[in-house]
Amino acid sequence: MSLELQKRHKVEMRNITKRFPGVVANDHINFEVETGEVHGLLGENGAGKTTLMNILYGLYQPDEGEIYVRGEKVKITSCRDAISLGIGMVHQLFMLVPAFTVTESVILGAEDAKRGFVNIRQAEEKIKELSERYGLEINPRSKIWQLSVGERQRVEILKQLYRSADIFIFDEPTSALTPKEATSLFSFSRSLAREGHSVIFITHKLRGAMEVCDRITVLRRGKIIATVKSESTNERELANMMVRRDLVPPIRPEVEVKEVVLEVKGLHAFDEDGNLVLNNVSFNIRRGEIFGIAGVAGNGQSELAEAITGLRKCSGGEVIINEKNMTNAPPQRIRQQKVGYVPEERLTRGTILDFTIAENIILGYQADFALRGILDSKLIDQYAEKVVEEYGVKTPSVDSTARFLSGGNLQRLILARELSREVQLLISEMPTRGLDIGATEYVHRKLLEAKKRGVAILLISEDLDEILALSDRIGVMYKGQIVGIVPTSKANIEEIGLMMAGAKVDAKGKQNETS
């Protein structure tokens, strides 16, 4: 290989193999990133994307294989090594101190100190210069807690730039962003590439990958399936490579919409710190209807689910289920109204990890499996075995603890419990978050089946595609309010995106017209 060619590869990973007990996470992987390139690393959960990048970032050591950076063979044994090679990683979850300013956060760990004093002003200048050069708008003096998720991400990126990183790894960078923030992240990534840097995008979102990347490498079960140019491929082909089957967009069955199951009127609620988190929320859901709530996480969606299911006190307004006023009723009584709830917190709320599968399957319905207060373990086991099979929960037995289930399997378990009972209203909160395509498809199918049966469904999700694909009507939440309700047939992504970002709050009632 000529020197010239080697130089073009900024990063080259050759024959990388990494084994964990029972799994080959990376199986002889050859992966290269060129100078001035945005390279997508696409794959389902557990495909080995993160493992590969953790090897590059020095968090894991490969069992086999070699890494070359800028043509030189290197051994990366820690993050420190990676950083000194100019590799910077922006994690999915940001690790920032809320009370720090942007400047303080950026220089943390890389302070230029003179006799123990940090020259903040100088650092501030440098940050300003960097943010102007790359189009990362941010005020160096604002505090982290004042910033939105997208802005915090910019701080993380600036942090890498400040340490003069040259190879950027973004781990699922768009998962918590509004469409507008995602677009600006994309254009920023392009400008990094133009400056001669290299960007690696870890993602399982096809659309984002297509939009921003020059080339895309698809991983499946630890192996490279292909590396393709984004211009010469399409979403369908990529999805095929990822899961080796066609991605069928869910077909929404047309269900005759009948009587109202859930009616929410002027709901108000506060969080633990006394902030208003639900502000005059009103909507209704009819039998066989899916009502989607779009919005960036943290705008009152979780609190809405809690208020409806009785887990949060409402300070005003009404929750009416099946024409019965259930405002501030205890959760047990609300459950008895045939209300199912698939919570966002699968590990702490939806399941009890130290309980067995069977014990988890009766949670909320335990009294139905008992006679005079004594649990009928035979009945429980039979029932559990039945639904575990029906919902395809992969487990050695219903006696093993839920702790050993994967995320997708846990969600199947929760769905099995909530849907195998005769529910009339289902509150489902981020039902596919963190799940891979296969599991997501399954959840969607189950939700649509429930809709067909006439279940009224409240679908809270950050994933706009999911909302658009499943819902009959869409309400957008921003800062505790529903800023607009539109029927999906008339929905327009940009408009919804603007509402999610709060642009429509002051617009005069135009969007507030409902079906």
């Binding site: 964990f20 007990p21 029972g22 799994v23 996470a25 959960n45 557990g46 993160t50 493992t51 894991y60 299911t309 887990l311 205890p330 959760p331 047990q332 459950r335 709830y341 919570p343 917190e345 702490t348 709320r349 939806g350 399941t351 009890i352 990890l353 130290d354 309980f355 014990e359 009766i362 949670l363 909320g364 335990q366 009294a367 008992a370 207060g373 004594i374 649990l375 373990s377 050695p396 037995s397 006696d399 093993s400 603890t401």
Partner: protein
């Protein structure tokens, strides 16, 4: 070779418990050697002291019963996520009510008098411990502080009763009137100290085991302990469950105190049950809060408690070293969860890496 899942759940906890005991003996041996004695001889004296004769064995089993009952008591509320470290006071409160029930109601036949004192001790200590359940569940007041510090209230209450209103003038030492014969627990083997308490303990252990395994109430209490948020989600009244669990918890410890009065001493004096509640907590920890495990672990502490007294003569050890030894065993019995956590932590790391 892989153990079947069920077996693993039953006996998986044994592993860390055995290791904690081994750790205790290892540290104990160092202390005994440092004190200039031979650990082997010391342990021989320990074993002989606990099991060497039918009488010694009966003493061991008699000591086991308060440990077992208070251990069960600790475990009962622990399942609801409530650390009841007031077992010490609750035993004493049970003992106080056994005295009260035992010196009154003397017209009752044994068949009624014994259940009465048991009930009195159970309810009194149960209601007492329930107060802290309410404080925690309703107002979020830390139970470790309240249950621990209020032990002193019971201690001084007992002190007052022993020295003044119930002081037996016929005895030179400060101690209460003896209870009526009709309130005496039956002796299981004549000529020994073995009384009904141990049977009561084992019976309660099985009852508690079934309660948690088989009843809706037990299921609900366990849910609250493992994940209050999930319990609320499952429609369980968290406050109510904590209150019920703390009642059972205090009650069982109280029953342990009743046993000490009705089964062993038949009167109450200062320091009579000192330390029993804390040993009970250690037994609960060593038994991994599993009622059946607590049968074994409290037997172990009964053995240690009564056998260790013979180590003074048997191995020529100063009393201080014996106390240190027992203390170390109590401390290391608490390491079980740490060993388990380390194991689990390793598992989690491994699992994450494959993700």
């Amino acid at each position: 070779m892989k153990l079947p899942e069920k077996w693993k759940r039953y006996f998986g906890g044994l592993y860390s418990s055995v290791w904690s005991v081994v750790l205790g003996f290892a540290i104990g041996s160092i202390a005994i050697t440092a004190a200039g004695a031979d650990p082997i001889a010391a342990y021989a004296a320990l074993i002989d002291g606990a099991f060497g004769s039918p009488y010694k064995l009966s003493e061991t089993l008699a000591k086991t019963s308060p440990f077992m009952l208070s251990g069960l008591g600790f475990a009962a509320s622990f399942k609801a996520g409530f650390w009841n470290v007031g077992t010490e006071g609750q035993i004493l409160l049970g003992a106080i009510f056994a005295i009260w029930g035992g010196i009154n109601f003397t017209y009752l036949p044994s068949i009624l008098h014994i259940p009465l004192v048991c009930l009195l001790g159970f309810i009194a200590a149960g209601v007492w411990s329930m107060i802290f359940g309410v404080l925690k569940a309703r107002f979020g007041i830390n139970e470790i502080i309240t249950t621990l510090l209020t032990n002193y209230i019971i201690f001084w209450l007992a002190h007052y009763l022993v020295h003044w209103p119930w002081d037996d003038p016929h005895v030179h030492r400060p101690q209460t009137f003896p209870i009526a014969d009709s309130a005496y627990f039956p002796i299981l083997i004549p000529g020994t100290k073995l009384h009904l308490g141990i049977v009561l303990g084992v019976f309660c252990a099985f009852l508690l085991y079934l309660f948690f395994k088989k009843t809706v109430l037990g299921y609900n209490i366990r849910s609250v302990g493992l994940s209050p948020d999930a319990a609320r989600y499952g429609g369980i009244n968290v406050v109510k469950m904590i209150i019920i669990a703390t009642f059972i918890s205090g009650g069982l410890s109280g029953l342990g105190g009743v046993g000490e009065v009705s089964g062993y001493h038949h009167f109450l004096e200062d320091y009579m049950t000192e330390g029993y509640g804390f040993v009970g907590i250690a037994a609960a920890m060593l038994g991994r809060n599993n009622p059946l495990g607590i049968i074994l672990s409290s037997l172990f502490f009964g053995f240690l408690w009564s056998g260790s007294q013979y180590m003074v003569r048997g191995a020529n050890l100063p009393v201080g070293v014996i106390k240190f030894f027992v203390g170390i065993m109590i401390l290391t019995s608490l390491t079980g969860p740490i060993i388990e956590m380390l194991k689990r932590g390793l598992y989690r790391v491994r699992r994450k890496q494959t993700g």
